[in-house]
């Protein structure tokens, strides 16, 4: 049966090469753009190393703080937190598996060997839990542990590229010293390069923030600073429990800091990966619903306009096959079968074109990565590199298939329904209506 659909569909494609080309281009273009939209969303929310646990992440990048003595107009401080605040509010929670604390964004920092010219690279300062929450691929050495972190030792994890810039090689580099911000640091480990698209943990060198005293650099009586945190839940099912626990904890803590007039405002934090990916300002809660709605509208426009096009072409093609339909009906084929046949035949074409569209979108994503995935507020000049693990997930194919199915149903459903309802006598006479 399926073989017959395929033969039939291919024969038709050959019959009208121009129209077939138009249908295939139309379908492929639609799927191409739809899949680009899907991929642009996936790089923000789908898991890939070193953020393989994205679906278990809860983020608190910024916090809002008010003080009844600051002004009568309700002024607030909206910025990253101090280490103490994160420890009190989030690291003290019982439900999560781990909580990583790190500086809110990578900073360009000079690294060099003594006496050599320095290169500015992106540095992130972290705690030791960072290495549990994010799964970096170590090619040599290991991350710094709690003891090293607590002792504020000057050690660093660097990427392969940085190792090559500094030492010309990645072999035997662990344990060697280099200058970071003009202070000697020892290489603790080397990891594979990280794409800037892993925007929570991206950097080129990671060091314990205790080693620079960043944890002591605070404002607002030690409440605010430069730190953000990511909570790793044991499972997504724990999200509500964690949010509730965090809320309770903040209420208690607010009583304590309230003695000096302070009050923390959570704006429904912590945010999951999807919400965090559209959260750019510290004093506004992102609107996930609105973002989803606008994405849905995009999908609708990208589906409906080509569907109308394709349906008018299917209609024209069916018109030329109307006597065939009459004969089939005369020999006892029922309407459902006929409709199914037309739908399936078109599905073959749609899938063919869809595969082409998907292929084009992957190719384009590779070549046009700087155009497609350009990140707002990335603070780095390094391009958003992509690889298969970032771009292609099981769900990518699932989405492509789903959209092909919808497109096919939209574009062929009505013509097929109309064709199947044709009167046998009229159809045998060669007319659809």
């Amino acid at each position: 049966m399926i073989k017959q659909y395929i033969t039939q569909a291919l024969a038709q494609l050959r019959q009208h090469p121009i129209i077939s080309a138009v249908s295939i281009i139309g379908t492929a273009l639609a799927i191409f753009l739809i899949m680009l939209v899907v991929m642009m969303q996936q790089v923000k929310t789908a898991p890939f190393a070193p953020e393989s646990n994205r679906d278990r992440f809860l983020h608190v990048h910024y916090m809002s703080l008010s003080n009844k003595n600051w002004s009568k107009t309700g002024a607030t401080s909206n910025q990253p937190m101090s280490e103490r605040t994160i420890k009190e509010l989030y690291q003290s929670l019982k439900t999560p598996e781990a909580v990583a604390i790190y500086t809110c964004m990578p900073m360009a920092t000079p690294v060099s060997l003594p006496g050599k010219a320095a290169t500015a690279i992106d540095m992130l300062q972290t705690d030791d839990n960072f290495w549990r929450v994010f799964d970096f691929a170590f090619i040599d050495g290991k991350p710094y542990d709690k003891a090293t972190f607590d002792a504020a030792q000057p050690v660093a994890v660097i990427t392969e590229s940085v190792a090559r810039i500094l030492f010309g090689t990645t072999e035997g580099v662990v344990g060697k010293e280099f200058l970071l911000s003009h202070a000697p640091y020892k290489v603790a480990g080397i990891v594979k390069d990280v794409s800037t698209l892993a925007n929570t943990c991206y950097a080129q060198v990671w060091i314990p923030y205790t080693s620079t005293g960043q944890d002591k650099d605070t404002t607002a009586d030690g409440h605010m600073g430069l730190m953000s945190c990511t909570i790793l839940a044991k499972s997504r099912d724990d999200f509500d429990a964690i949010r509730q626990e965090a809320l309770n904890r903040m209420e208690t803590y607010n009583l304590l800091v309230g003695e000096d007039g302070y009050q923390f405002i959570h704006r429904n934090r912590p945010y999951d990966q999807e919400k965090q990916s559209i959260s750019f300002s510290a004093n506004q809660e992102p609107n996930v619903e609105a973002e989803r709605r606008s994405r849905l509208m995009t999908f609708l426009v990208l589906l409906i306009v080509p569907a109308i096009n394709l349906s008018s072409m299917t209609q024209s093609r069916l018109r030329q096959r109307v006597s065939e339909i009459g004969v089939r009906r005369a020999f006892g084929c029922n309407r459902m079968e006929l409709m199914g046949q037309i739908l399936m035949e078109n599905m073959v074409v749609t899938l063919l074109a869809g595969a082409l569209g998907l292929l084009m979108s992957v190719a384009f994503a590779y070549m046009g990565n700087t155009l497609l995935f350009a990140q707002p507020f990335s603070n780095t000049l390094n391009p958003p590199t992509v690889d298969a693990s970032i771009l292609i997930h099981g769900s990518t194919f699932g989405w492509a298939l789903l959209f092909c199915f919808i497109l096919n149903l939209l574009s062929t459903g009505l013509p097929a329904w109309m064709a199947s309802r044709t009167n046998i006598v009229t159809a045998l006479g060669g007319r659809l209506h």
Binding site: I19, M107, H182, T212, V305, N379
Partner: protein, 416 residues
């Protein structure tokens, strides 16, 4: 002629209905995107009130006690070191001006706000006024312009004298009527809700926007002189017009030997071209998406009409041949076919405009001038989307029509 066209369209109403629905849908979406792009472009091309060409941000770092060069410095000493670094930069021949500031440079993701009140009146500006704590040369680096024609140099002198500089729209936005700040120059004002100390209002400057995609209507600022700096201060420089080439490399090359003061060193140098791109990438992405969607829709119009009319001209071969046999020129055949498409577009346009109007009335489109519905803008965007679609119709039908008009009547009628 037109009557015949209408009956032809009526005769093929089934396929034409599909085309009409598509044209209607595309007309509405095209208008919506054009309208949004119009708003974006209108904001983008407003005067900015500052100039970042030839400007660079120099990020400072501070040695930690892990470094062999580390020396114990008090906060006061560190402040002196930062001033010294700025002075050394100022000595360099390629540099025109150097400034220090907090949360002040253009395209800055961080901002602080401030309240201002007239000392001898109840007039207040409390509505998201951006506070720019700067060294006097800040206005020279970013070339702020006085509302009464004051030069950046004159503005810098005012800051030096501890006078306050505000943007000209400071009160206008709060009191919803034009109240240029030039009327208040010389009056004394309170800052930080502190009524024990007042400052003279030195000048008002032309509206300084927050970024290229934020309208000046909502941008208000207040500048005052600040003199005490930490390493998280913003050290900005303007280089002379012909000195941009390799400026970053040249400065980096000298930074170790000449530009380390106390524990302060230069950790990174970024051009404002990069800072601007980084700050606005989200908006650039939106424009990119809008234009891609427009192109996609137009390509679809093309494909749809091309496909439909390819079939039609084949089916109407004899009709066209007959038409030609009766003396129609190639041009007439061509025009007739293309007109069929244009007529369809004309038919759906009133309906599309009605939908557009309702969308604008319901405030579901772009905002500009504090509104979503303006006669001029509505008609302009409607016309642009109409013309673009009409053009695609001409191209989409044109290709099959060209082929059709070359039909040899004798051959075609003979086939029949």
């Amino acid at each position: 002629m037109n009557k015949k066209l209408f009956s032809q369209i009526k005769n093929e109403w089934r396929t034409n209905l599909g085309l009409a629905i598509e044209l209607l849908l595309v007309s509405v979406v095209m208008w919506w995107i054009t309208d949004n792009l119009y708003c974006t472009a209108s904001v983008y091309f407003e005067p900015r009130g500052f100039d970042t060409e030839h400007c660079y941000l120099i990020e400072m770092g501070k040695l930690t006690d892990k470094s062999p060069d580390y020396t114990e410095r008090t906060n006061d000493q560190q402040n002196e070191d930062i001033h010294e670094l700025a002075n050394r930069l100022r000595q360099r021949p390629e540099i025109e001006a150097v400034s220090l500031s907090y949360n002040s440079y253009p395209y800055n993701g961080s901002n602080s706000t401030i309240n201002m009140q007239l000392a001898d009146d109840t007039l207040k500006a409390t509505n998201w006024v951006i506070r720019r704590a700067v060294s006097p040369d800040f206005v020279k680096v970013f070339r702020y312009d006085g509302a009464r024609g004051e030069t950046p140099e004159q503005l810098a002198e005012m800051l030096e004298r501890d006078e306050i500089i505000v943007s000209d729209n400071l009160f206008t936005s709060t009191y919803k009527r034009p109240m240029p700040m030039t009327d208040y120059i010389g009056r004394r004002v309170y800052l930080f809700n502190d009524t024990t100390h007042s400052y003279p209002l030195g000048a008002s400057v032309k509206v300084v926007r927050y970024g290229d995609f934020q309208s000046g209507r909502n941008a208000r600022t207040l500048l005052f002189m600040h003199d005490f700096w930490d390493t998280d201060a913003e050290l900005c420089v303007r280089v002379r017009a012909n000195q941009d080439v390799d400026f970053i490399e040249r400065l980096k090359a000298d930074s170790e030997k000449q530009l380390r003061v106390g524990n302060i060193y230069i950790s990174n140098i970024r051009s404002f071209k990069d800072i601007r791109r980084d700050f606005q990438q989200g908006q650039y992405n939106k424009v990119r998406d809008s234009i891609t969607t427009m192109v996609f829709l137009l390509v679809n119009i093309f494909l749809g009409l091309f496909g439909t009319f390819w079939f039609r001209t084949q089916q109407r071969k004899c009709e066209i041949a007959l038409h030609k046999a009766h003396g129609a020129t190639n041009r007439m055949v061509f025009t007739r076919l293309v007109s069929e498409g244009w007529l369809l577009l004309l038919l759906v346009t009133p309906l599309a405009l009605a939908i557009d109007f309702n969308l604008a009335y319901a405030e579901l489109n772009g905002w500009y001038n504090d509104t979503t519905l303006e006669a001029g803008r509505f008609l302009l965007c409607g016309a642009i989307s109409f013309l673009l679609i009409a053009l695609m119709i001409a191209v989409g039908i044109g290709i099959p029509a060209r082929k059709a008009m070359k039909i040899d009547p004798a051959e075609a009628l003979h086939d029949e």
